[in-house]
Amino acid sequence: MVIPSDILTQALQPAAREWLDSLDASQDIAVLLPQLPRRTGRDPFGGTRHTSDDHDVDFAPWRSCDVAAAHLFEKLNPTGEQLRDLFAHGDFEERAMVMRTRAVFPADDTTCHLILEAQRTNTQDHMEALILDSDLVARAVDAGLPIDDFNRLILKTAFVDLPFGRMFGSERHASAELSTMVQDLATEREAAGRKVWYDTNRVIGLAPAPGTIARLLGGLEHGDDNHRLAAVEGIVSTGDTELRKYLEARLPREPKPSIRDAIESALQATT
């Protein structure tokens, strides 16, 4: 995917576009990148989700400078080593741009490196920029990111409370091993009286492990609306029609209209 032309037009003022178009490979990308927020703007431009055969990217959180950075990378084609250097020695904004723009390029070794860096450095803005609002992480696994690294990333995502649903396509890499890790974190949090990741039940329902069904059924009776809704979705994801009766039992007692709607939809889907 390259940056769609309508996005370029929407995000960049003509003067900014002209300046970008005047740049060439003789210029040092490390000197150019930090200028982008000042020259092109640092506010979201109102982008929307774009889906194609090979990419799924929601431009809603993208800022004008992110679009400019993607355009710059497309134009100057930095090596993986250069991209790693831009991240390593970039300021906060530069790092965010390096991370967010990966979504419109093919997943490769550099993507995998940056995913590990995001996980290691644990700066929420940079994690969000890299792993949310696109299918980049899912494509990275397809391209060779070891499944162990993926599992650890999801666990870190749970740890810092980011939404799994905004990691488009990641559900296809769910596994029983991941479910066990996420369940164990939830148990640990519950024992400590700490908040549990709201997506726990959604993720474990995708690939049940020992203990998953009990947790999902318990989730149906949870006092927190978010956990109950995720439990309904998790039960649907298991595809286990035996669990239908528990949804039926919960429906008349469910006080929240939106969750009742979810249960009714789930029952229709499993008919």
Partner: protein, 292 residues
Amino acid sequence: MIFEPHIHMFSRITDDYEAMAKHGIRACLEPAFWLGQSRTNVGSFIDYFDTIVGWERYRASQFGIHHFCTMGLNPREANDDRLNDDVMEILPRYCEKDSVLGVGEIGLDDQTPKEEKYMLAQIELAIRHDLPILIHTPHRDKKKGFERCIDICKDSGIAMERVLLDHGNEETIKITKELGCWSGFSIYPNTKMTPERMVVIVEEYGLERMIVNSAADWGISDPLQVPKTVAAMKQKGFTQEQCDELTWENPINFFAQSGRLDRTVLEEPAKFDRRETFTGNSILRGQDPDSF
């Protein structure tokens, strides 16, 4: 509100940030400098530069203080051939970072030919990146050093209103006042200037293009010397408006010449969330973010 325009927070502790915020310091500027002992390779500079645009900025923000910096090869290490040319090579990328408002501290220390060479090269760098310059003047043979710094600036062609000649005193103000440059004064507990001497200077020379700072670093120094100077000015009858001109308007007006200082951003304290980390690190050391 106070803009502290010269302080090496890299070498200070969180108590200092807390005290600075309590005494009205809303923003500070950290000139790149030396570390107390010599660096031995360019990598040490790279990590330091990354720190003053990264971690230090985050650390300051945790106390509501906006942090900026200037980038440069300091005159003391300009004499070191193990790293001077390598540092010059990496400076262009750092000159473009968002929080970099100038080139500095550059200038003279021992007043050697090498210091002059790299001072001039960095003034040219500042011109290329459209940045003002902060000049460290020698602490020994100061008057001669000031005059030499001025000559180098004039020869370079940089506009004098984009030059801040720092570490001045009663003698140097006589030289710099009419040049069109900005005159900086570092207020120290026991050496350089005192708040009381600074008040006498502004009584005689006025407030225009005058800047005061603490230049606090890893030595015996005091990050509250600017608020203390304000207190001394008020004791002598200066108004709040006059104090603001010296300690807020002047440094902002000088560094705003970079085109990167948004005055409206400074009107509010730096935003922070003590739960957020910077590269996995925070200042909490395990403490509850809501407990203080």
